[in-house]
Amino acid sequence: MTTTTTELTGSGAAPGAAPARVAKRRNGGGLGTYLLIRFLLIIPTVFILVTTVFFLMRSTGDPITAALGGRLTGEQLAERVREAGYDRPLLVQYFEYLGNVFTGDFGTAISDNRPITEMLTTFGAATLELVFYALIVAFLVGIPLGRLAAYLRDRWPDAVLRVFAIVCYATPVFFFGMLLKLVFAVNLGWLPVAGRASTGADIQLQQLDGSTGIYLIDAIRLGDGEVIADVLEHAVLPAIALGLLTAGIFLRLVRTNVIGTLGMGYVEAARSRGVAERRLLKKHAYRPALIPIITVIGLQVALLLSGAVLTETTFEWKGLGFQLTEYIEARDFVAVQGIVVLLAVIVAVTNFIVDVIAALIDPRVRY
């Protein structure tokens, strides 16, 4: 929810951003070097985030008191805090945590004893599935409409589309989700209220050998048409809620960048040679706009995850974001910290991948 608009500012600057990076890369030698350095940059990023999150979370006190404070007497509590090592100097704990994180151990939730890394596999798949659906919606809605808006620039359909885009990200996901549920699940009864599958389907999916956790894949492997339909039905509303949020941003992003490239000399040059307007839009302006679009879309991953937290909560989509709010509610700060750091790693890695894709698309870098 929150990065929304600033990304947009970013998007204004985006067409500049990519070439600037390109320039840097070209100074920096080959693509290989660039990718290596870009990859190494993940480390400080993650390091900074781990550090920030650790100290912020621990500034409130130790997680045991947070989770169990109410139930135990002071002595019992102190005993447990001591056992878990939370009474040692913060720095000692920090370095220990750091060491653990770099060996892939993100800790274990206090409230239910689950290793955080295990959550990546159990809930990560659900989040991945949701994000995947949402991206489909976002791409299907945002990109064509963005192009349309750029094409019909400054006419009324453009204004309508832009207001639509803004409304998409001005509406809090939880509010929008609630309205969707009310209309489509309760009043019309077309779609299920929440969850990833109905009970029967859920049981079948779970008992499937070697289930991936991605229900759609599992359902297809199961080969039961009804289960597939059931899984898809459950995905519709969350995908729309999260997808439209992102679609609004994509729309705006595509519009801005395509208008930007439409004004570039090379489009003008192609126009001067009689290339038709439609083709200018579809090829000459769109392709170059794609590079900054992809770069900024990469930054949207962060936003998408923020949105996913709220969407998953609204629709009981049991993914990482859902789990995060659960742990927040339980004040299980070890788990919160673990998931947050996990998400940070995901974001850092995704951004890296997106940058690589952008670099590969950009011929200035590829050659």
């Binding site: 409130t60 009864g189 929440a194 029967g200």
Partner: protein, 521 residues
């Protein structure tokens, strides 16, 4: 498992063939009894693990479950005899060795989320033979011990599946089929979906379950649970529906709302040192301090709190031991307010005036906004409003995150503050010992030697009638002192589809929701 699609699409309302789907907002921490001490986990354990003692439907008191008999064979010796030939669902024998294993490991693991603290009075466990277990206790005649055997510390586990020294992962328990209860778990997806199947060899107190197959769906958001029960997607909705939802569902013909007494209570704690005129304040004066507490008790309108904030999902509480438990009385109803449960501003004013307290009394009142549900804010806004509306109090209402709250409340930071209590087992003692003995968990500097002595006495009184009398006397005494002012008692509410029966049988003061009691017509 491809035979699915029994009643296809999205509306698989429990399915035919004796399947029941229950929705809940509870959360499971872990299946391992040593690692969890919460309602959600305990609810699962109640279906699938055997207990030595258990509460029969409709009563708060305990009886042998998989035991044939259980009794004090000496003041510090509690002997339980198991039924012969018990078997775990995986075929292992269920013997006294499992029982010893269970309690030894509870104590050994002492997990921070676990209930091992309940076993504080347990010294050692002996197994003279395969069916006999002897519990050696530290204090004599502990009348709560049978209750403890039915509490979260009590589920017996299979020593061949569980680890003696650490928590056993849920999946191992499920894979090991280490169950012996009305049900066994056939499919387990933590906090999402759990499927149960009746266990044919269960021979305990509860008998054969009425429904052979039960699925439990876990919800995080009560409104989703509500929508699903309303849409008929599930058969039973259990726990934590919001007050609004329940009220709405009451008006819905397609579902039944079933109420039962709840064990959860809410109360205001006074810190005897820092409350107005408290012992550590400059103008310390025990009489005035008592007058302030009494004025609060006079002014609180429990009816309004229960109705406006909780829409009847909580009920007014006029005692320290909630209604439904053996020995519960309502001393506060007569002693304070209009004598019929309502508030009385007049009396409050008189009390204060008689003690020479200047009004309005400045009272700092603290509550936690994140521990007792989202309605705490409304609850305390209303209490503040009630205390202030006659000009007797000026309340400085503050809220704190639970982490700090739980630290600061025992550090004498809060003169008066909110707390809630959910019992470990359904015995009146669980509402007395933790609160009113000299060294209590409230840490509010309340001390009444007589009360202290009486509490100690009732625990060790084997005769039920005698004990009940003592408990009543304690309540009366505390009602005079007002160490705390209890005001609400949670109700258990289950919502069932119109064709589901049996919910009322299990909504009893044992606070154990047993799926086996439910059936679908």
């Amino acid at each position: 498992a491809c035979g699915g699609g029994d009643d296809g699409g999205g509306g698989d309302s429990g399915g035919g063939g004796g399947t029941l789907t229950i929705g809940t907002t509870d959360k499971v921490t872990t299946l391992d009894p040593a690692g969890s001490y919460d309602n959600g986990s305990f609810a699962v354990m109640n279906q699938v693990f055997p207990f030595l003692m258990n509460t029969p439907p409709g009563s708060p008191d305990v009886e042998p479950d998989i035991a044939e008999s259980a009794e004090f064979t000496a003041p510090t010796q509690y002997t339980v005899t198991l039924k012969p030939g018990l078997k775990w669902a995986n075929g292992n024998d269920l013997t006294s060795s499992d029982v010893k294993f269970t309690f030894d490991r509870q104590v050994a693991i002492a997990d921070e989320n676990g209930p091992s603290s309940l076993l504080g009075n347990l010294d050692s466990v002996e197994t003279p033979d395969d069916t006999t277990v002897v519990f050696n206790l530290k204090s004599e005649n502990d009348q709560t011990f049978p209750q403890i055997l039915s509490s979260p510390a009590g589920p017996i586990v299979d020593e061949d599946v569980f680890s003696a020294t650490e928590l056993t992962p849920d999946q191992e328990i499920v894979d090991g089929n280490a169950f012996h209860g009305q049900y066994v778990i056939t499919n387990y997806d933590l906090n999402n979906l759990v499927s149960y199947e009746a266990y044919p060899d269960y021979q305990g107190l509860l008998g054969e379950p009425k429904t052979a197959q039960v699925n439990v769906k876990y919800y995080a958001d009560a409104s989703n649970l509500k929508l699903d029960i309303q849409e008929g997607n599930i058969d039973v909705a259990w726990r934590s529906l919001s007050a609004t939802d329940i009220e709405d569902l009451r008006g819905n013909d397609e579902v039944n709302v079933v109420d039962g007494p709840g064990g959860e209570i809410r109360y205001i704690v006074f810190n005897f040192n820092t409350q107005p005129y408290g012992a550590a304040t400059p103008e310390a004066d025990p009489a005035k301090a008592l007058a302030v507490r009494q004025a609060v008790a006079h002014l609180i309108d429990r009816e309004e709190l229960a109705e406006q904030v909780y829409k009847g999902t909580y009920t007014p509480l006029y005692s320290f031991v909630p209604e439904g438990l053996t020995g519960a009385t309502e001393p506060l109803r007569e002693k304070y307010g209009d004598g019929e449960g309502g508030p009385d501003a007049e009396k409050a004013a008189q009390v204060l005036e008689a003690a020479g307290v200047q009004t309005p009394v400045q009272l700092s009142l603290q509550y936690s906004n994140d521990h007792y549900g989202p309605s705490s804010g409304d609850e305390y806004a209303l209490i503040k409003d009630q205390l202030e509306s006659d000009g007797l109090f000026a309340v400085d209402l503050q809220t704190t995150e639970w982490v700090q709250y739980s630290e600061q409340r025992t550090e004498d930071v809060y003169p008066a503050y909110q707390l809630g209590w959910f019992p470990d087992y359904s015995d009146a003692d669980n509402y007395l010992t933790p609160f009113f003995r000299a060294e209590n968990f409230l840490g509010n500097h309340y001390e009444n030697p007589q009360v202290d002595q009486l509490i100690a006495q009732q625990v060790a009184t084997p005769d039920p009638a005698e004990r009940t009398a003592l408990i009543e006397q304690i309540q009366d005494l505390v009602a005079d002192d007002l160490s705390t002012v209890p005001y609400l008692q949670g109700a258990q509410v289950a919502v069932t589809g119109a064709d589901v029966e049996g919910a009322e049988d299990t909504l009893d003061p044992s606070f154990k929701f047993r799926y086996g009691a439910l059936s679908k017509g």
